[in-house]
Symmetry: C2
Subunit: 456 residues, 2 copies
Amino acid sequence: MHENYDLQQLMELVDQRQFRRLREELSQMNAVDIAEFLDELEAEQEILVFRLLPKELAAEVFTYLEDTEGQEKLIGALSDKELREVLDELYLDDAVDLIEDMPANVVSRILRNTDAATRSQINQLLHYPKDSAGSIMTTEFVFLHPEATVEQSFARIRRVGLDKETVYTCYVTENRALVGVVTVRRMLLSSYETRIRDIMQTNVLSVNTHEDKEDVAQMFSRYDLSALPVVDGENRLVGIITFDDAMDVIEEETTEDFEKMAAILPSDKPYLRTGVLETWRSRIPWLMLLMLSATFTGIIITSFESALAACVVLTSFIPMLSGTGGNSGSQSSVAVIRALSLGEVEFSDMLAVVWKELRVALLCGACLGGANFVKMMAVDRWLMGNPEVTPMVALVVCLTLMLTVVCAKVVGCTLPMAAEKAGIDPAVMASPFITTVVDALSLLIYFAIATRILPI
Amino acid sequence: MHENYDLQQLMELVDQRQFRRLREELSQMNAVDIAEFLDELEAEQEILVFRLLPKELAAEVFTYLEDTEGQEKLIGALSDKELREVLDELYLDDAVDLIEDMPANVVSRILRNTDAATRSQINQLLHYPKDSAGSIMTTEFVFLHPEATVEQSFARIRRVGLDKETVYTCYVTENRALVGVVTVRRMLLSSYETRIRDIMQTNVLSVNTHEDKEDVAQMFSRYDLSALPVVDGENRLVGIITFDDAMDVIEEETTEDFEKMAAILPSDKPYLRTGVLETWRSRIPWLMLLMLSATFTGIIITSFESALAACVVLTSFIPMLSGTGGNSGSQSSVAVIRALSLGEVEFSDMLAVVWKELRVALLCGACLGGANFVKMMAVDRWLMGNPEVTPMVALVVCLTLMLTVVCAKVVGCTLPMAAEKAGIDPAVMASPFITTVVDALSLLIYFAIATRILPI
């Protein structure tokens, strides 16, 4: 990512304590870049520079600081008065995010420094479960009355809109129940006398507070939404979710999927900020489990030890067979996992998916088997001069290859769908898991075919 | 994904030809759901239902139809007059998207049915390279003059805003050069007499037309943008990109990453809509390449054949070693690939990354080696009563395991970063590739250690 500012130059200004010029430079930058710059500084310098920022900008910069530690450090360095000023400027959902990640003593200091009304709203938001729509919503939205005119509504927006996270979509409520939405665009394009009731859209997409935040985020990309109202069990409007929070959820969930698919327990910290011990803790459980489950492959090989001793050349194709089987299975499982998470496929499509994978597997198996036969004859037997690689051995290897590819692809597409149905995240059924299952399968197939075809 | 409508009931209305009731039902639905419903219908029914929709809604539904085929079919069935009506209502960037995917005869029919001005704009947009910012921008935005008042600007928005994709961020231009942006929010919160120059923000984030669309999409999530102006080489404003298009790019790129990481060539069709042959074509190249590169593991095993014959039990641990090595390597490579794509890590962090992975690897290696030693002694030797599993054999296996894990993690984090530096997509360096490299490495380590420690 190219930077939009000259880090070197800013650093020099800090070192030379040219604070007036620094303030000028910073006022030309946006909050995200300033936060990145602050993260580069030493603690004492950071607080110095932070104090140079105008109040409103300071609060915005604060929400973009790299991680909990950065924010905690800064909170520690701020006076109570400064802290109150920052908190006053924060949007409610950002304040809640902040509190959720802080140690207890910092939380109590934060709550001491907000006014009673905000404190009660924060407490309410903190009660929603971690992955629910309620946990990512903000309670700062503009609501209008259906009988108000456009002119009255603009006056209302002008009056209350300053500290609302979005004013472009306004919610129309009657007795707190959500009855419609109206966009500022629609209002701008109507005459000032028009009543909201006549231009509001009554067919409103909304979600319940307890809905899963990942499903909610998917709705944003499905319907190209910029904001989505959140209602309680009685259809009373309690908050809204804005697209930037939905984008954050999507990014987070995608990272989690990548991690699960690589047998890593999900963490929500950036790579370089995660400590060695923490990284180890997120990686060792699956590694250990998968290693111990390889006991089965060991048992299979041991029980065919005499067959292998009679025809040692068979051993040299084991890595190729399990590798190709694993790759084939991963392709299917990843394709299905992604399709499931984008909502392109659901459990009821099981038969269609298996039927498709089966045909793809037969095609792939035939190609790979054929190519491998030619390769074994041309390279292993003729070029490398290995007399043990007979046409019969090649036949055994290639038949195994084809059957393994077919099994791998069917297992690869079935397991994620079964997991989804059973309420387990299908991402867990990705490459590492499939590979381990396919390893055992390919060996069983290999020895079954070898003992039938070869004189062992 | 739960549906927001009753598909069954709609289908019945179509079958019973109750078009008036159907029209009522459809008018309560949003465009995305209607498009999904249309995709379920037969061609003749689809065109019948499509004709029931009001013009504006029809155009919107059209852009959400599942794929090129669906749109092409419908274009074929529409009369020239109907097609012109749909095209008139399309946003320019949607029209361009449409044209890019259509066969030549359909394209010429589309262009025949748009007016000259739109045709020239479409042609201009079509000239931008496929993955550039220019290719996803729209030229439909509102621009204002710096000397205009808020009241004059609202009047202008009311006049020109109807067919603009977003009106909430307006661009301030002087002689076509971008000099600032002003949001409708800011205008609403200012008095009607305020001049735009006094409330516009002059520090504007913008991108160049030829910038990569993936980088542009990353800017949306980095800066929480709702729209981003696109300028040419002379800072003249030529278009804007809206957040919904950026979200589409992110979703597309994520799917591509998942595919590359599973050794699948990227395709841009949904899973179930991709034909068997097409799926096969996207999967066989990497499978073939990885299978043939397994020749190396074969060669390694063959050259140590006599050692294996002398100590056959060694064979039974090969799958466990290569599996655990592969998994360890995948964890590192996936973590680094994701960090690279989120911009958390860049090439200059190479040393920090390797140093971190090295320490994690030593921890993981020690745990896995220790656990495996205990398991081999307890399960393989004692429980299964295999006398060949001596403490020396267990030592060989566990030392190999530790060294393999360390090598795998270092290779796993280095290759993606090297690929990024070399201009190759790091996602290609994921599990399948790493696994193949680690397979060979683990065997080399295994035999090197075995021939030194064991009497073979």
